[in-house]
């Protein structure tokens, strides 16, 4: 996987708190068995009217905001459904990062795993960056240095932190499953001891489903 040490882009505000993944990627776009076609679904109800026409008042539909690829938004962004389609859709649309004072836990994990960078800043700093975009009626040029943990706009410079593990995911690119499989012997040993101590958990899904199948035949 490639290195990603610096994100340079254009940040615009979406002033909504608790923006949920149902709104990021509505249900009608979750019917696939692959990751394709999610660009169209992103923020669908905000971007499109009842007739499927672009809503001119939504910022992403305006020429001034065409370069937007970093979102600045309210707290608890990505709450609700676990659908990773929300992250894939943001990336397919072109988003590289989201800045907010907090993110929902499942969304955080989904995003960082896909290397959609989530930057957590104190709410006042998020507000200050949003204000800066308002003043120029368009997205602000923004530089996010992942290695140094700093967000730089024309007017502001804010430090942010993330766990070393997540930082490494961006800087080096990690094959998470591949790394875990290096623990295979440890996993096997753990499982044997765990099932010995808790035999009622071993093969639980298979045993219960087989029992149900047998009793319905009887």
């Amino acid at each position: 996987m490639s290195q990603l040490t610096l994100i340079q882009g254009h940040a615009a505000p979406l002033r909504i708190a608790n923006f949920d993944t149902d709104q990021v990627m509505p249900k009608q776009f979750l019917r696939g068995i692959d990751k394709s076609g999610l660009k169209d679904g992103l923020f669908y109800d905000l971007r499109f009217d009842d007739e499927g026409q672009l809503k001119p008042d939504f910022f992403l539909n305006q020429a001034a905001y065409a370069l937007t690829d970093v979102l600045m938004t309210g707290p608890n962004y990505g709450c609700g459904s676990s659908r990773e389609h929300a992250v894939w859709g943001m990336q397919q649309y072109g988003f590289k990062a989201v800045i907010a004072s907090s993110f929902a836990e499942i969304f955080y994990s989904n995003a960082m795993g896909n290397r959609l960078l989530l930057v957590v800043l104190p709410e006042e700093q998020v507000q200050a960056l949003m204000q800066e975009a308002d003043e120029q009626c368009g997205p602000i040029p923004i530089k996010i240095d992942i290695e140094k943990g700093v967000v730089i706009s024309p007017k502001h410079r804010y430090a942010f932190s993330m766990s070393p593990r997540h930082q490494q995911m961006f800087l080096e690119g990690l094959d998470v499953i591949g790394l875990t499989l290096k623990y295979q012997d440890q996993i096997d040993r753990f499982a044997q001891a765990h099932w010995q101590a808790n035999p009622w958990i071993k093969n639980i899904a298979r045993r219960v489903v087989d029992r149900l199948a047998n009793s319905s035949q009887a």
Binding site: I16, P26, G32, K35, S81, E105, I177, Y183, A205
Partner: protein
């Protein structure tokens, strides 16, 4: 010995390796899957050539996309959704993973099906590509939702790279008054602590009011903890939990049972265990609660006025409140009682179990669904449906004018045939009142099954205590 919370005990007993200060490699006892968050995970396995080493600890259920109208056999008419179900079957066959398929008599919502057959037991770690996996805390199991990349990780390794959460304790003492349920309690709690109030935390619920709840009522409570941002919810298993599990886990007899009882006895927070945040609530003050907005924390007591936009110090929160009022076509300061509804939905992993349906029938009695109201009842699973039919609940509901449907997630998230039209206002026993969740432009009011039943009868949001 170190003093630990129940959460810490569950994590420690499933830690294969400590990866760094914030992350552990967590062993997963049971991994549940559905048809829409798993396909890309299976595709990833195939692409990279990974095996599924322990398929016996995984199970899949067709739940979200399935239509709930009465046909036999059940047919998924939408071609894309049908492909998801076919694909799930193909993947489960290929990797030998047990499946509750479209036409399995026991099919239903994953979080209803798995505990009702004894698949969830105290002390387990249960994960699923669905946020409402927090439900299992009701039995002292650590349950939480994951994304599709993590589904792939669990399939390939039976473990998860898990970011540790902090500990929050919510103590609820007292007795819930007549007319109030665990749904009202959790709506009240989410309203108080907020939709982000528990981000990064696992909540342990305790206190006399929690101890008095049935397991199904505890499911409702733990299910919705995620709406406060919680990474998990736990209730220390007690005799009520043991009884629920042992009644269903038919393999747990003799020595195994004795061994389990000893092991489960330790599943409680140590007396001096530290919780970073503590909240306390009085159950006797909980009245029926209904959501008014587009976030589950936008909730009020049935007799209380809606908040004014200046009630928050945060400008984004104020904007969101204004937008929520615009969307739900309500006014600041008004009360919800008497607001007309056109639709009632009773079901979901929050409130689609037999006790929920019993409480509906109790409220309905010999009354009828109000004229002009469409009221749907969707049992959470095939087993719940069969039980309700055996108890005469289905006949009573049908006679009262309710639609009695096949099990599934249905209108909770409306990614099937059950979708509301724009502008329709719905009294719903589900868990999310997000904009467009039940259909674009549709308005959702979350409430208890009893309150939804009352709304069905009167055609407006109604205080069930006055009915």
């Amino acid at each position: 010995m170190t003093v630990k919370t129940l959460y810490q005990k569950l994590v420690d007993s499933h830690t294969v390796a400590v990866l760094d200060q914030e992350h552990v490699l967590l062993f997963c006892d049971l991994h549940l899957m559905n048809e829409y968050t798993s396909p890309q995970a299976f595709a990833g396995l195939e692409e990279k050539g990974y095996a599924v080493p322990v398929p016996e600890q995984n199970v899949a259920v067709v739940s979200h996309i399935i239509p709930t109208h009465h046909t036999s056999p059940r047919i998924i008419a939408d071609p894309a959704s049908s492909l998801q179900a076919i694909n799930l079957k193909r993947n489960c066959d290929k990797y030998h993973i047990p499946l509750f398929d479209t036409n399995d008599a026991l099919q239903g919502i994953e979080h209803v099906v798995s505990p009702e057959h004894g698949m969830i037991r105290p002390g387990m770690v249960v994960i699923c590509g669905d946020s409402h996996t927090t439900t299992y805390g009701a039995l002292g199991a650590l349950g939480f939702g994951i994304g599709t990349s993590e589904v792939e990780h669990v399939l390939a390794t039976q473990t998860l790279v898990y970011r540790l959460a902090k500990n929050m304790r919510i103590t609820v003492n007292g007795i819930l008054p007549v007319g109030s349920t665990s749904k009202d309690l959790i709506l009240m709690i989410i309203g108080k602590i907020g939709a982000k109030g528990a981000i990064g935390y696992v909540i342990e619920f305790c206190g006399t009011a929690i101890e008095a709840l049935t397991i199904e009522a505890r499911f409702t409570l733990c299910n919705m903890a995620v709406e406060a941002g919680a990474r998990g919810a736990l209730i220390a298993p007690d005799q009520t939990a043991y009884d629920y599990v042992l009644e269903r886990a038919q393999d747990m007899v003799g020595e195994i049972r004795d061994q389990a009882m000893i092991s489960w006895g330790d599943l409680r927070s140590d007396i001096s265990a530290h919780f970073e945040i503590e909240h306390e609530f009085d159950a006797s003050a909980v009245v029926p609660h209904v959501t008014w907005g587009t976030s589950p924390d936008q909730t009020v007591a049935i007799d209380a006025p809606l908040p004014h936009h200046h009630s928050f110090s945060d400008p984004v929160e104020n904007l969101s409140l204004e937008q929520a009022l615009r969307y739900t076509k309500l006014e600041a300061g008004q009360t919800l009682e008497g607001v007309p509804i056109q639709h009632v939905f009773i079901g979901s992993c929050t409130n689609g179990r037999i006790e929920d349906l019993r409480s509906v029938v109790k409220v309905v009695g010999d009354r009828k669904v109000a004229k002009g109201v469409r009221a749907m009842v969707v049992p959470g699973s095939g087993a719940v449906k069969e039980q309700a039919e055996a108890e005469g609940i289905a006949d009573l509901l049908i006679a009262a004018g309710f639609e009695w449907r096949n099990p599934g997630c249905s209108m909770c998230l409306a990614m099937n045939d059950d979708v509301l039209e724009p502008g329709v206002r719905c009294a719903s026993t589900t868990n999310r009142n997000f904009e467009g969740r039940q259909g674009r432009g549709a308005i959702t009011h979350l409430m208890s099954p009893a309150m939804a039943a009352a709304a069905a009868i009167t055609g407006k949001i109604t205080d069930v205590r006055k009915l």
